[in-house]
Structures are given as C-alpha cells and as structure tokens.
Symmetry: C2
Subunit: 115 residues, 2 copies
C-alpha cells in the first residue's frame, strides 16, 4: 500500500489486514459501510476467517475502533477478543436496525457514528 501519502483508496482498504491490540492478525477488511446522511465511514466489515472460534463470517467493526498502523500496513483495533467474541447477535437486517447498532456500540463502549 501507499506508504508515502496519508491518502488511501477504498479499494486498498478493502482487503487490508486487521490486527488486535497484541498486533496478532485477526482478520481482514471485506468492505466499508458509509453513513449516507453524514458521509462518515461507519463500519469496516471484517471477515474473521474462522479465528476466535467463530467460524468464517463477516463482523461489523466501528470504523473509529480501527487505527492505521504504518509499520503493519494494516489496521489495529483497540477492541479485545472478549469484546469481539461477545458482540450482540446480528440479524440479517442489522444494518437498518438502529436498536442493534446502539447495542453494538454500547457493548464496545463507543459512541455511535450517528451521534
């Protein structure tokens, strides 16, 4: 990825690795979700690939829980494994269910991107 600029295309964010606070890889970003009204990035949807005993699946991480790390050339989350594995169950329509999104952000101890 670009190392000499602060700007990165979304094509390159998609596919970037996600690391835990211990700098162990826990998955990769499948795609980003943008909040249309505000234009802010709301979630990085991470593909776990069967880590954490969860079976391969997609898992929405609040974008603000990720920080680009130049050395790792990927994103480090400040969420713990316990937080990630204990996240509220999602229904298929989670992305149009503000109640679920509120529970998710509460679980992660983060303000909602819509706040």
């Amino acid at each position: 990825m670009d190392t000499d600029t602060n700007l990165i295309t979304t094509d390159r964010v998609n596919g970037a690795n996600v690391y835990g606070a211990d700098r162990e890889k826990i998955g990769h970003i499948d795609h980003l979700l943008i909040d249309k009204p505000s234009g802010n990035v709301a979630y990085a949807v991470m593909n776990y690939g069967g880590f954490l005993g969860m079976g391969a699946e997609e898992h929405p991480l609040p974008w603000k829980s990720l920080r680009y790390d130049r050395e790792l050339d990927g994103y480090v989350t400040n969420l713990t494994n316990d937080q990630l594995t204990g996240a509220p169950e999602r229904s298929e329509d989670w992305n149009r269910n503000r109640d679920y999104e509120t529970r998710l952000h509460d679980h992660y101890g983060m303000p909602g991107y819509w706040a």
Copy 2:
C-alpha cells in the same frame, strides 16, 4: 442501491453518479480516498467522462462537497461548473502535496479535511 438503509458499501459508492446543483449529471465516482490518520473520507475521485469540455479524466472532489440524494440515487455537489472547470492544475503527485490540496480547498471555499 439501498434505499431502505442509511448505510452504503463503498463498492456501491464507487460508480454512483454525481449531479450538479441543477441536478444534471456531470460524472460518476470512480473511487474514494480516505485520510489514514483521521479515518475520514477525504475525496471522491470523479470521472468526468469528457463533460465540461475537459476530456475524460479523474478529478478529486472534496467528499464534503457531495450530498447523497435519495431521489436521484446519487450524489449532488454544491460546487459550480465554474469552480470545477477552474480548479487548480494537478501534478501526478497531487495526493501527497498538501500545498496543492490547500489551494484546491481554497478554490472551492472549503476547509481542508485535515483541519
């Protein structure tokens, strides 16, 4: 595109049409550029397709100059044709040239995303 949720994947933003304030189509979004330090979307790089007498080329629009319009199912910019066609000339390394970015935002009368 999704009409029943506020969340949209970057895959669907890429390719979305861009309309002028008069709601005439002026191009489409080729890709987004994200500012790694802040995590904010910095630019939508628009492909003009030869409109505005400019020949087909890519043109960075400050993301904050675009607003999603549900009816058009695309993005409306508040920048005028004069502003767009009069934008400062870019060199190839524009995306790592904060001087250029500052001139561009000044031209558009917008604060920089890094501010």
